[in-house]
């Protein structure tokens, strides 16, 4: 059976695949720091060369920032999906360097209680993950002479610095990038050894407002008492966002468009190995603090939030200052789920504040902040169940459709700009220390990740 041959090839080639990854990791492609601009370019060149070695028509494509890498291989065929694979070749900065046990761009294999790991910046986020797919393609090509379907490769070099060029590039090249399904390898497994397909992410609404009390900063002796203090006003408004009894958001209509999680999915979540105690205690909590009627996992994956990300006003230096400030500021973000409409929700939140303003208080809103609906994957598409089966086979453990608390903007952009559903499969572990010193990727994640993609390719193209 040809899949077995591909898998055997992957096993045999693992040392060389690891060497290739190490070479890639040695390029310090830190996108946010201009000092590493040439290195980002080198990483893009490295990818182009590697894709070309697989017979893929790949090229580096300029942007106002770091280049994109786009590659095409294969022909569209009846009944076989055209896949787009996305990853990013840029990495996070490495500071504080003193906390690294080994130099971040001199990757090495290290033994740990959980098995060998590849230690180095980008090993997990995202070079190691990205290469699981490339190496699966390499093995497939070597066994079969060609890939099983048309595949577009799309790698960016600005994911860790806000992706400023991404949307314009996708808009300008929409026809070229259009495919049937996007595969994204930039996520974690829900717990060690449990293969996961992230099928429901949360959307995002950003807003910011300023409460103005007095026209100017006041002296708390001269005006303390009669003055409306905007910090007190803002605290009252923030407090009014919540119902303390239930832990719910108290903004009228906030939960419109929120759906309950179906029973069978809840069942998967209950047995997915999520370690609630570890999740909470690792950051200092003894209990979950969200909606009391929902489990910790539901609070994180399936329930919306209204979060205060920044709040400030008055004096914050050393000692004391007897000021009643003129202004108080608040930054909020909402995580959205289901069919929540960010534009409608923005109006509800603003109305909530405006309805509760004290006499003499004013509110002004920042109108430059965007919102995006929750990307909810259509897991009724047959590809999703096929991929879930392939992952279950590889990991000898039922794969689960998970939620994700975060937003993975790229999935939203694929939907919005290319009308493309995304399947998010990743093999990272929560202890990979991405964005932190001593980032690592388990060799097991790398090896079984490559094997997983080979199985997924086989399942999606029924070519095995």
């Amino acid at each position: 059976m040809s899949l077995d041959a591909v898998l055997a090839r992957i096993d045999a080639d693992l040392p060389k695949a690891t060497d290739r990854l190490m070479e890639f990791l040695r390029i310090p492609s830190i996108s946010t720091d201009p000092a590493y601009k040439a290195d980002c370019d080198t990483a893009a060149d490295w990818l182009v060369a590697d894709l070309k070695s697989l017979g893929i028509e790949a090229e580096k494509r300029p942007t106002p920032g770091h280049p994109m890498v786009v590659g095409h291989v294969g022909e569209a065929a009846e009944g076989v999906p055209h896949l787009l694979f996305y990853g990013h070749y840029d990495v996070q900065p490495v500071d504080p360097l003193t906390l690294w046990k080994t130099p971040p761009f001199e990757p090495q294999i290290e033994d740990t209680p959980n098995g060998p790991v590849i230690r180095g910046r980008g090993s997990s986020d995202d070079k190691g993950q990205l290469m699981t797919f490339v190496e699966a393609c390499r093995a497939w090509k070597e066994i079969h002479g060609s890939l099983p379907c048309r595949i577009t490769f799309f790698f960016e070099g600005e994911e860790e610095s806000g992706s400023p060029s991404l949307i314009p590039f996708m808009q300008e090249n929409a026809a070229e990038l259009k495919a049937d399904l996007a595969l994204i390898c930039d996520t974690s497994m829900v717990s060690r050894g449990v293969p996961s397909i992230a099928s429901q992410l949360r959307g995002m609404l950003k807003d910011e407002f300023t409460i103005t009390g007095p026209r100017i900063d006041l002296h708390s002796g001269h005006y303390g008492g009669p003055a409306l203090n905007p910090l007190r006003e803002l605290s009252r408004l923030v407090t009014s966002f919540y119902d303390e009894e239930t832990g719910r958001v108290a903004v009228e209509g906030f939960y419109e468009g929120v759906h309950e999680v179906p029973e069978d999915q809840l069942r998967q979540w209950k047995t997915c190995g999520f370690d609630e105690e570890e999740y909470l205690s690792s950051v200092g909590f003894t209990e979950p603090h969200g909606e009391k009627a929902y489990s910790t996992l539901e609070q994180q994956w399936a329930r919306p939030t209204l979060e205060i990300n920044g709040l400030w006003g008055g004096y914050n230096g050393a000692g004391s200052k007897t000021v009643i400030p003129s202004e108080a500021h608040c930054k909020i973000t909402c995580r959205l789920v289901g069919d929540m409409d960010p534009d409608a929700l923005r109006l509800k939140i603003r109305k909530h504040v405006e309805d509760r303003l004290s006499t003499d208080a004013k509110v002004t809103w920042d109108n430059d902040l965007e919102g995006s609906r929750a990307p909810v994957m259509d897991i009724t598409r047959p590809e999703f169940e096929a991929a879930r089966g392939a992952l279950s086979d590889e990991w000898e453990r039922e794969a689960v459709f998970t939620g994700m608390g975060g937003s993975i903007p790229i999935a939203g952009f694929f939907k919005k700009i290319l009308d493309l559903d995304s399947m998010l499969i990743g093999f990272a572990n929560d202890d990979d220390a991405i964005h932190s010193p001593n980032e690592k990727y388990d060799v097991k994640s790398f090896h079984k990740g490559i094997r997983s993609w080979a199985r997924v390719l086989a399942a999606l193209t029924k070519a095995a």
Copy 2:
């Protein structure tokens, strides 16, 4: 009658008195800026020389900062009080310089709709006010050959920069500075033309606390929902400080030691010319926002406050950051009245917070912030009513005992260190723009201020 001779002398000497003040104002004695250290010294020398010209034994006394000026004149006598007069020769910085219509240290007389003013930095705060007393002494000396009682002059040069040397100097020289009554000329009239003796000031309690939620900053996608957000927690705690219905502070026992204002004083306040509408509207308010059961003036002068002076946590830069911060911070000050005990109140406020903390939230307090009781003058002392009569005579308008929302720390120090009551008489107007560009002092304030002090000296010593 000899007081009339003194007053006539004051009238005749006004041009020269004004010239002397202008000379004093030309010295840029900005205490907070080290670049003006020599100028502060020059201002002290100027004062020493001027006092000596009145036959006062005056000298410049070194401190680790700017020097004090101390002068003594006259002998203690039975039935005649020994007075201590306090003022400060340093001034505020002048930035932004571009907003000054005339150079801040080139004082000039300028006509305005309210009459001529002396324009320049320090004209009102406090050189002009300080000189009203010195000029009264000069006229008295010239008519009578000597002053009517023993007087100690005490001028500091660090009032605008936190008075770091004041307490140590007073402690080291307590015996020398001890007197029967302190006179302080650094306050305003309650309204234009209404002579005022500030007889009740508010005390101050400072505190600062930090609420810690998660052990580290969290990603609002990964933890939003289950996470306790310290900004929300802090907002809830701040809100719990107040009873919205009554406008009162809701901390248990907060009002212990607060007394109602006596009826006759309330009557004075009602007719003192305080322009409530102007006071509120000048800073953008249409109504007072303090305790609903009390008038605006009572809220400012006679009622305690719990004010939020600074509140901050999370991200406050441009755009958005999806963070749930680990910490949120709050600076508070309370204005105290009557017999409120700052030490006891601190414990009550802390208990209020600690009793209401959520599970998993922690609070830490800054233990380096002080408190001071409200300095309440003993207006039953005969000197107070005598001075009030003298001021009423000069201004042809009943003088009033006013409150002051602020703290005038020097009055508290005189009480605490020298066990000395203070009488605060000043002739500034609210539109003097002290601490701001284009500071001025009405010529009328200067002229009638000098005459007022002559009358007060006469009344206190019954020497007229």
